[in-house]
Symmetry: C2
Subunit: 357 residues, 2 copies
């Protein structure tokens, strides 16, 4: 699936999409290289067991603790954090404590989420709880959350304290999103605004903080911080909408998930919730199937995916992702910042949202 | 069980034990009354679900959300925090954000611990996970941990930042203690120093932070903060030793636990670990029984408790609790502070350690 970026905003952030993709991959590699030693130093402060499990989860080691050649995740949040410092006119280095902190919070939530969802695989490897059990997954997540704050607090500057406060508020919103996600599984009457609030918490909050935390560390004016926050928040929703579309119609070979995976787990995703609440007869049929909670075979799931599409869920989600993306880029365009970081942030945003196209 | 306070230290903190007990109960009530509105305000910031579950866990409401007449726990940590501010010459109010923060961290760890241990009851009520399930227990604990930091960070003063840093380091030590606790269940070769490190993390770290955080918030000199930290740390170990003795030989009617409860769960507590590592033939017999992990009936548990006693575990733990308590009171005596708070801290320490006598 490809999200089309409105031409006006596209020209505002420059470059062709292909050249940008290459540049962005290079920028992500550079950012990951800069963040890695600071991240390793922070993780090194954990007790032996929490450090070993965290190193495995981050893709640095295998189950037995031997170093891997893998690179772990794409580290999109740290890249946003270092670009955010540059957007405020500071060096990427200024954003590093923020980059480490947001990556730790992100991974805390992944480790706890995998346990809560009973997911046994992440990035083609067994999840932490699947290897070491539930108590270790709970404690390792807890340790990462506490460490994220410690990394910022030990800097001790007024800017680092501001970043720590942003992180604490963000964590509260993130947890709220997860709480709603758990609740929605038990409910048949989830509205579209409720579903958007959930996605804003689960995905928007931390991307917003990632895009702003470097600027906070650089002591940027409130207008710049607010613009970057809004950019990250809208980007997060665009990303979630695309992710939800891929969760139903994505190519398993590309997404690494089973075909129709979100339907298989009866997930009340954004396109599904649009369909059940705005989709007429097809939407009502979909809602009845969701409430039934029966396991379905692949032809049945294909029929259900068709219902989401007929009910307008796919079209709405795709269009809404484009609207959110345009809104993100507008937020970026409306405030004064150096053109290099502005262009890089726009390119990174497009990369995030058009991934697995 | 009664821990005898050495006469020299007893006179240093004044009063007779009976009068002190009464005064301490009154002081705990006063402290709880002062902390409660600040605690409610903080918890009020959580999302609806996390707030409802936290209110239940804290004993403010029942499962349906109706207010209870109960008072929740004894709130020992908040009392230490407000006394800590007074020890630094400030008012109790100065310690309130610290009191709320340590109580939130304490309760975060209880909610996660109950889930990890599979405990279905706490303070004669069903535990959070037993009522709302594992995901809600994980998320509510996470929310309390994040909120603890937020309460301190929003003050924004240099002192509050110092307190936030103390709390982050403390949380790391607390989690380390829990990690060791989980590991020890799988091991047959736990040494006494390892067991002490575990208890220092699980119990000492947060009592130490509680006793120091008010002074940190009051901007006290390092010598005062360090003395209060050492006092709390030693007090924590004394408390854990007494708690472990009660976990084997305590009166079920008083402790609220089943008879021999820690032996029933094969817990490698401090007296048990002393016995297996320093207890000769009886200790080796005890170690073999622990490794067997079979369920035992009450006569068998009574025999095992006899082994711990013969191996010297009970005598050592009782004597070590007295040594730690004396060490705690010495730390308090060695630094300059107003006599009122010094005496109150000593009395509170004795109350904590001689509870359920």
């Amino acid at each position: 699936m490809t999200v089309t970026i409105p031409a006006a905003t596209k020209s505002a952030v420059g470059d062709t999409q292909e050249a940008t993709q290459e540049t962005t991959l290079e920028a992500l590699r550079k950012s990951r290289d800069a963040v890695l030693p600071v991240m390793r130093e922070a993780v090194g402060r954990l007790d032996d067991t929490s450090r070993a499990i965290t190193s495995y989860h981050l893709g640095w080691t295998d189950i037995d603790g031997a170093p891997t050649t893998g690179q772990g995740g794409k580290a999109i949040r740290p890249a946003l954090a270092t670009l955010s410092a540059q957007a405020a006119g500071a060096s990427a280095e200024v954003g590093l404590p923020g980059a480490v902190a947001v990556e730790l919070v992100h991974n805390f939530s992944l480790v706890h989420d995998d346990l809560m969802d009973g997911d046994t695989e992440r990035r083609h490897r067994p999840t932490v709880w699947a290897v070491w059990g539930a108590p270790s997954a709970i404690l390792t997540g807890d340790a990462m959350l506490a460490l994220a704050q410690e990394v910022l607090l030990e800097r001790g500057t007024a800017e680092a304290i501001g970043a720590a406060r942003l992180l604490a508020e963000t964590t509260r919103r993130l947890i709220h999103g997860q709480v709603l996600d758990v609740e929605f599984e038990q409910r048949d009457d989830v509205t579209l605004p409720e579903c958007v609030t959930m996605a804003a918490g689960k995905t928007g909050a931390l991307l917003s903080a990632s895009a702003a935390i470097g600027a906070v560390l650089a002591g940027a004016p409130a207008a710049v911080v607010d613009a970057l926050s809004a950019f990250g928040e809208e980007l997060g929703l665009a990303f979630q909408l695309v992710d939800d579309v891929l969760g139903i119609w994505g190519d398993p070979a590309v997404t690494g998930k089973s075909v129709f995976s979100d339907l298989r787990s009866h997930k009340k995703s954004l396109p599904v919730t649009f369909a059940t609440t705005h989709g007429g007869a097809a939407g009502r049929e979909l809602a009845a199937w969701l409430a039934g909670e029966e396991a379905s075979d692949e032809p049945e799931l294909a029929r259900i995916a068709g219902l989401v599409e007929t009910a307008g869920g796919r079209e709405w989600a795709t269009a809404e992702a484009e609207r959110r993306m345009a809104s993100a880029l507008r937020a970026l365009a409306e405030v004064s910042m150096p053109e290099g970081p502005r262009s890089d942030l726009g390119a990174l945003a497009r990369f995030i949202v058009t991934r697995e196209a």
